[in-house]
C-alpha cells in the first residue's frame, strides 16, 4: 500500500486522560510503519492546551522526539491559531516544536489528506 497523507486531530487537553500520550504514540506508529505515512498532528479546541511551553512533557517527550526527528518522513505538529486566540494563548506561550497555522490552512490540509483521525 502506498504511503498516505494522514491528519490526526487532538481535541482534548493533556491532563486527566490518555488522549495526548496515546494520540502521539499512534501518530508515531502511523509514521513508523512499513508504509511510512506522512502524518500531521493538529491541535484544536481544548487540544491547544497540549502545546503550552510549560507543560510537563517528561512522559511523552520520546514520542515527540521520534515523531519529529527519527521517522523516515518526519511528522509535523500544528496548532490552530483561532483556537489559541479564543483561549487567549499568545504565540510566545507555545512550545517551539509546534507551528501555529490558520484554520483556513488546516481546512486545506484536510482537503488534501487521505485519512483523518479525530478521536484524540
Amino acid at each position: 500500500m502506498p504511503a498516505k497523507k494522514v491528519v490526526v486531530f487532538f481535541n482534548n487537553p493533556p491532563i486527566g486522560s490518555l488522549h495526548y500520550a496515546e494520540g502521539l504514540r499512534a501518530s508515531v506508529g502511523l509514521g513508523a510503519g512499513i508504509d511510512e505515512h506522512e502524518v500531521v498532528v493538529v491541535c484544536l479546541g481544548d487540544g491547544v492546551y497540549n502545546v503550552l511551553k510549560n507543560l510537563d512533557r517528561k512522559e511523552i517527550f520520546r514520542y515527540i522526539d521520534t515523531f519529529l526527528h527519527r521517522l523516515e518522513v518526519p511528522g509535523k505538529l500544528l496548532v490552530e491559531e483561532e483556537s489559541l486566540k479564543e483561549r487567549k494563548i499568545e504565540a510566545d506561550e507555545v512550545d517551539d516544536e509546534w507551528r501555529i497555522v490558520a484554520r483556513e490552512e488546516i481546512a486545506r490540509i484536510v482537503s488534501e489528506a487521505d485519512i483523518i483521525v479525530g478521536a484524540f
Binding site: F9, N11, L44, G45, S83, E104, S111, I116, G118
Partner: protein
C-alpha cells in the same frame, strides 16, 4: 469523492469550524450529526451558519428519537445507520466522534 464530517459532542464544534472553511472552496461537504451530536441540530445559530456555506446536513434518526428531539428538528435530513454506511463508503470521512 466528497468529504463527510461525523459530528458528536463534545468536540464536534471543532470539526464544524473546519468544515465551514472547507465548504467555501469545496461544494461537496456533508455533515452527519450522530449520538449526542444530534443536539447540535436544535441549535439554530449553528445550523444556520452551516447552511449558509451550502453544506448538506444529515442526522441519525434513531439517535434523535432516543433523545426525544424529533419534534424539534427542522430542515435536517434524517437517515438510518444503513444510509450512514453508504455515506461513509462514498466519501472521505473526517471523524469527530
Amino acid at each position: 469523492m466528497g468529504t463527510l464530517y461525523l459530528i458528536n459532542k463534545p468536540h464536534g464544534e471543532n470539526g464544524l469550524k473546519i468544515a465551514k472553511i472547507q465548504a467555501k472552496k469545496d461544494e461537496n461537504i456533508k455533515i452527519v450529526f450522530i449520538m449526542n451530536g444530534v443536539y447540535y441540530t436544535i441549535e439554530e445559530d449553528i445550523l444556520r451558519e452551516i447552511k449558509v456555506e451550502g453544506i448538506k446536513i444529515f442526522a441519525i434518526e434513531e439517535d434523535i428519537k432516543r433523545r426525544g428531539l424529533e419534534d424539534k428538528i427542522k430542515d435536517v435530513e434524517m437517515i438510518d445507520y444503513s444510509k450512514l454506511i453508504d455515506l461513509i463508503v462514498e466519501n472521505k470521512v473526517v471523524n469527530f466522534i
